[in-house]
């Protein structure tokens, strides 16, 4: 039996599909996950013993000797990545609209854009991390590196899971297996995707912009 037919037979006490309540519950829980990571980042902000540092010059170990290192963040690149991620949330709204309306063209088109944006964001992060690594910021270099990589790494892995999830849905959408009756499945993925975006909206100013 399809989900919609099943839902008709067994109405929920809230009127909201159980899968949707579940994803909201997961999102609530994940807020605490990221709150712990962000709090630790903030607690250790400014406490690194050596560089490289995010916004200031420092002494750091590079190519085997201590030298003066520049601030390591490249704000323009990350700002662009942030914008891409924000737009992807907009794109998925359009994709969902297409699914609910029954327009396979809209659905596939905008969902592809969403996935591409997600891939771009991941690519930007991979580039950023390897760039940092070459400038002397390894995972265990200092408190900034450990907290930064763990926090953004957790976020990045959430993005990755989202991209895999959305790609699976995209594949099914292309094969015509997401009719309006099954739009809920996309809606749930979209809620997750929006959450991942909102987390980045917190991380970006707290980590990248705040000094």
């Amino acid at each position: 039996m399809s989900d919609a037919a099943h839902a008709l037979e067994h109405p929920t006490a809230t009127g909201i599909d159980s899968k949707k309540v579940a994803i909201w519950t997961l999102i609530g829980s994940e807020c605490l996950l990221f709150a712990s990571l962000i709090s630790t980042y903030l607690v250790y902000k400014g406490k690194s013993l050596v560089g490289p540092l995010p916004h200031a010059e420092s002494q750091c170990m590079l190519h085997g000797k201590m030298q003066t290192c520049e601030p390591i963040f490249e704000i323009p690149l990350v700002t662009f990545g942030t914008a891409v991620l924000l737009f992807s949330s907009f794109f998925i709204v359009l994709a969902l609209y297409g699914a609910q309306k029954g327009s396979r063209k809209m659905l596939v088109g905008w969902l592809s854009m969403t996935v591409l944006c997600g891939l771009f964001f991941i690519g930007m992060q991979v580039y950023e991390f390897s760039h940092f690594y070459h400038k002397g910021l390894g995972y265990s270099t200092n408190l900034f590196s450990s907290t930064f990589y763990t926090l953004t790494g957790f976020h990045g892995s959430h993005v990755t899971v989202g991209v895999i999830w959305l790609s699976t849905l995209l594949y099914r959408a292309v094969k015509g297996k997401i009719p309006p009756a099954k739009a809920l499945n996309l809606e749930i993925a979209a809620l997750y995707w929006h959450f991942v975006d909102v987390v980045w909206i917190v991380i970006f100013p707290v980590v990248y912009l705040m000094r």
Binding site: S2, T25, E30, A35, Y139, S140, L143
Partner: protein, 612 residues
Amino acid sequence: MATSVLDKAPAAHATAPTGIWSWITTVDHKRIGILYGATAFLFFLIGGLEALFMRIQLMKPDNDFVSAETFNALFTMHGTTMIFLGVMPLSAMFFNYFIPLQIGARDVAFPRLNAFSYWVFLFGGLFINFSWLLNAAPNAGWFGYANLTSNQYSPGLNTDFWVLGLQILGVASMAAAINFFVTIVNLRAPGMKMLRMPMFTWMSFITQILLLLAFPVITIALVFLMMDRHFGTHFFLPEGGGDPVLWQHLFWIFGHPEVYILILPAFGIVSEVLPVFSRKPLFGYTAMVFSGAFIAFLGFGVWSHHMFATGMGPFADSFFALSTMLIAVPTGVKIFNWIGTLWGGSLQMKTPLYFAVGMVAMFIIGGLSGVMHSSPPADLQQTDTYFVVAHFHYVLFGGSIFGLTAGAYYWFPKMFGRMLNETLGKWHFWLMFIGFNVTFFPMHFLGLNGMPRRVYTYPEGLNFEFWNQVQTWGSMLLGVSMLVFIYNMWKAARRPANAPADPWRGATLEWLIPSPPQEFNFGTVPAVGSSTPAWDLRRANGGALPEPASESGEGIHMPRPSYWPVVTAFGVLGVIGSILFTHAFPQWYFITITGAAILIYGIYRWAFEPAF
């Protein structure tokens, strides 16, 4: 497409399928509940054995029954086992079996996720106990304080087993918490508004919220610890600028809500048992609901009362002292309402009532010693001594275990269709009550008289022998009481399954269906007009409830059994457990890759398998 799925949907069975494969693929909340209960009870006995070994070692000063290293592993595993493999899954047994019944549902919201939670729990429990076979059982305490848990001071696999085992168990708890939260929110019978839910379901609901909000914090703390141990970071290590006290903060931000996770279900059970056996409604239902919610909310604001000796400074000390004292108020409200329930009732002196009253009586003591701890300067003499060991055993054993045992006697007939023997039950109670108090009350004395905790021995000149011996004898008595309980259950199993649907004149929906229930639970769910629907029906029917007829279950489609939950659980074990080896032997990464492949494959097959 829809038709073909419906054709394949399994019809509700008149009799449950048998055989081990039916248990491995079951998605029936009742079976999963029994699996949780049996597994948890075994782990509980193991934890009890660990305690007995400790008590024998502590019987005399400078004893050598076990070595220092073994003792440290024993107390670490005793705590970890009792909390994560004992009390929590015993509560989960009742969540599983009775939340759907109490709200009039067919099953939980996500039956396969439910099965998945059980298998992950089992694998996590086996994983962490596997360490005994490698002589590498966790030995840095169930609370694993940094920097003792660093690679420098705890080399070897012990702490790795602990970290990874807890991460595996965390997956199980989180999945179950989402499941029960959605179930309670969405699957209540018509007319069952939130403020008409049974108290056990209410307290369990609050417990799920605590689980959802607390477990992510320990997950992150454990990730940081693993990174410190094997990937060179300094989250908790001073040589890189880190601070060991951060571990304590993160741990206790989880750890304090965790103790409410441990007690609230037992509170819920007592709130069910007392009204039924007093023959009157729970006194102050609304106050009980809100005090439970308030305790949970406040529970996130008291964590540093575990850290009064760390030198946080007077303002932090004062804040947490006041918040801790504040939390005593709603706790007291509950106790008074329970007494109010008994007051003026017609007390039916059956075993469930004994354990429920025992719980209240013991929790009063535990709560009062907790208030003594809430004053930081006084706590500087009490913390890290046997006084606090007494306190938490009074609330965890006297509270949670007594409460869960009350639930066991109360709900055993419903689950297994057989009554437990009343005489044996009362023997169990008195042996356990006396054994418990003889074991744990003297610990108050020992603590105040200077005996620290987590010590594998003590010297002769400090006069600790007498009470230690008394405590050891008490613990033996506790062990005997467990044997009586096991014997009672074994004898019951050999009786025919002909217990009535409602042996106790219960107030809630689970008593309206046969004992044990048919697979589909309710043929038709009655409309619910209050928090005591069974009593309402009795009154409407002139005081009697007809024995529910066996229904055919025709036309009711049940969730189909599935093996993807257990396969996916293997994937989780593979990915997380393999880190034990791959951090040191990266060439073994193929285990992690295989685990990840099983995990992802399992998730995909699960997602695309029709649920019904």
